[in-house]
Structures are given as C-alpha cells and as structure tokens.
C-alpha cells in the first residue's frame, strides 16, 4: 500500500462516525435502483441481468465492489437477443471513416431538464422485433469486431434513447471524436478541426459538446490561431463547471499565453 493510500482517512462507515453520520452514510450506500429500472437499463443495452431475484441482490454485489467477476453465471442467463443499441455502440470504433448520416441528435441543450423527458421503454425493443435480425454469435471465433457483420446484424431501426438520441447517433458521435483526437495526436490539426466541424454541424446538441470544444481549442492553438482559441477557451470556462476537461482547457489556455 502506498504512503498516500495509508495517509487516507479511514472510511467513516468503518470507524469514527457519529450515530447520525453512520445512519446517513448507510442510507446513501444502500440506495439501489428498483429491479424494474435495472431491467430497463439492461434491455436498452441488449444485455441480460443475472437472475438473482431482485435488484437489491444485484446492487448488493455491486456495492460490495470486491466480488470476483462471475462471467459464467452472467452468461448463463443471456437473453436470446441482442439489441441494436449494444451492437451500434460496440462497433463505434469501426465507423471511424463513416460520416454521420445527418441524423441530428435531439438531446436537449445542456442545462435543460427536458433532455430527460420520460419516454416509456423507448430504448427497449421487443424481443419479437429483434428476432427478425438474429445474430449468430457462436458461428466463428471472434477476431475482433467486424463492422460489416455487425452492421448486417443490426435491426432496421436503432433503439432510441430517452430524449431521442439513438445508439447509432452515439456511435457516430464517438467516431467523430475519435477521428478528431487521432488527427490531433498525429499532428494533423487541420483534419482534427474538420472532424470537429463535422461533429458540430451534425450534432449541434450532441452528447460530447464539451469534449469537442476542448479538442477544437487545442487544434486552434496548434495551428497558431491563438485569438480564436483563447476566445473559445474563455467561453468554455464560463459555461462548464469544474472537471478534468475544464482543467485541461485551463492548462491549454495557460500554455497558449504569449
């Protein structure tokens, strides 16, 4: 154990808390999503929950956070179908070269609670629907995800997340960000900016606006467009709260000072 680790205070739930503190910590640590909510999330991802009888049991395992993975038991309860949501997300990396199909994300702007307006089970396609696009998961040993086979296996319509963002939207957004990052890492800042522009025009309210803005700032700086970068960075810092990205932009801003 490192010195820093040993310097950490002992966890309050272990020792040193007053009875009221203990009660509140216990309450916070034992809150669980209902079984129905857990099932809804799993359905939306096209995966199965372990058959444990209740959400509480799943949560207890998670809360312990020390249990060894039980992949076999999880796998034994697989649903007989896989949703397009998972497939689309898994192949996100394989879509690097694909331009988003101008399917604009309809996520509400940041700060709007309407982004999470209830949509009943929209992300959970019925098994019967998906049965029309069966996936032969055991046909051959995997040599990595193959984009063509995955795309072929997709059901006609991607499941839609609450707020209207589809899984393929997310995959496309991630692909564009990956492309921008790769270009930036490869020293091609102009290409990074092009990917940023593609993202911003295709997904004006996309899920990764802050990440894209940070990439843009870095690309502009590398291109020597310091005035634009600075203006954008200041706007970024005004709009977003503390976090790793904010720290990064702050560092970029400092590094870009004349």
């Amino acid at each position: 154990m490192s010195k820093t680790e040993t310097d950490l205070p002992e966890r309050m739930r272990v020792a040193g808390a007053s009875p009221l503190e203990q009660r509140l910590l216990r309450a916070a640590g034992s809150e669980l999503p209902s079984r129905a909510l857990s099932e809804r999330m799993a359905r939306g991802l096209g995966i199965a929950l372990p058959v444990v009888g209740s959400g509480a049991a799943v949560g207890a395992a998670s809360n312990a956070a020390v249990a060894a993975p039980k992949a076999a038991s999880v796998g034994s309860s697989l649903l007989p179908w896989v949703s397009g949501a998972l497939v689309a997300a898994v192949v996100a990396g394989a879509f690097l070269a694909a331009r988003p199909n101008a399917t604009q994300s309809v996520l509400a702007p940041a700060g709007s609670a309407a982004a999470f307006a209830p949509v009943a089970s929209a992300a959970a396609p019925a098994p019967a629907q998906l049965a029309s696009a069966p996936m032969r998961l055991t046909e051959a040993p995997s040599k990595g995800d193959n984009a063509e086979s995955l795309k072929a296996a997709l059901p006609p319509a991607s499941p839609r997340l609450r707020g209207g963002t589809t899984a393929s939207d997310l995959a496309n957004q991630i692909a564009l960000i990956d492309a921008a990052r790769a270009a930036l890492a490869g020293g091609d800042s102009a290409r990074a900016l092009a990917s940023v522009r593609d993202y911003q025009s295709g997904y004006p309210n996309g899920s990764f606006k802050p990440e894209v803005a940070a990439i843009k700032i870095e690309a502009l700086l590398k291109l020597g467009r310091k005035t634009e970068a600075r203006a954008l960075a200041e706007r970024f810092l005004a709009n977003y709260g503390p976090g790793p990205l904010t720290d990064r932009v702050t560092r970029l801003l400092g590094a870009g000072q004349p």
Binding site: E5, A28, A110, A153
Partner: protein, 186 residues
Amino acid sequence: MSANPVTGEHPAPPSEAARRRLERMFAEHHVSVWRSLRRRGFGPEEAADATQETYLIAAGRLDDISRDSERAFLIGTARRVAHTLGRKTLRWQLDEDMDQRISSARDAGDEHADLQLFDIALSKMNPELAEAFVLYEIEGLSSPEIAALLEIPLGSVASRLRRAREQFRDAVTRIGRRLQRIEGQP
C-alpha cells in the same frame, strides 16, 4: 449472413466476449454508476437513462478499458454524461428552506428520510469535495481510482477527503441540531 462478394469470406460475428464483458460490467457496477448520478441530483429515472448512456459509451470503448479500471471508467463517463446534460455540480439549493426540507424528509419515512438528509448534508459541502467524498465513502473507490477519475494527484485526494469529512461533519451536526429543534416543537 452473406459472404463478401469480393473475397468470398464470411464476416466474423460480433464478439461474444465483448457482450459478456459488458454484461459483467453492468452486473457489477451499474448500481454504483446509477447511485453516483443520484448523488448529483438526478431522479431515479433520469439516473437510469444516464447510466444507460454511460454503458453505451463504454460498449464502444471496451478495448480501451483495462480490467482494473472499469468502475472508475464508468463512473468517470457518467460524470461526463452528467456534465453534458447540464448537471455540472450537485443541484441542491437548500439554504433557505432547510428546516422545511428536513421536516419533509422526516415525514417521508425512515428509509427515504435518511437518504434525503444525506443529500441535504451533501448540498452544504463544496461540490468538488462532495464528489470525492461520495466516491470514497459511499462507492468505496480507492485513492488511485479517485485520482485517475478526477485527474488530480494522489496527494490531493487525501487532502480533499479530509476537508470533505470536516464539511460533512459540520453539515450533519447542523442537521442534527435542527432535527432536535424540530422535534422539540409542540
């Protein structure tokens, strides 16, 4: 699944291993992810949606996630999703009507009352400290996990946790006093 007309090869099927891994990650960590979003002020359903979005992102990045950092990756991604959705800091503005909220919490029944009181205490803390506090005290993350997730030095983790604990204690003490006062009222 048809053969490639050019090569004649059959495309490889999607990775079963990836799907199983995501299932395992979901079984092991979705409660922590969901709960971390709840502590940022999301309602149960909202937190479920954001959790789902978090796992969709993770599904596209499985190759980048080491086995040891799955939970930190997921909670970190959930944090970014929350930022994207406008929950930059904990959304609890309770200064004005703390007494009323404490009363409501007490009326909500034991199970929920303590949770609401915890959130009230959290609302009284510096958001950065509260975040580290929740990760350490509630979700049980290690200091390296927290350091990686928050992108801060290990030493800063210990420092934040100590200050967080002081603030939490102060807040709970005040809540305790108000509870006594409320209970003392006719």
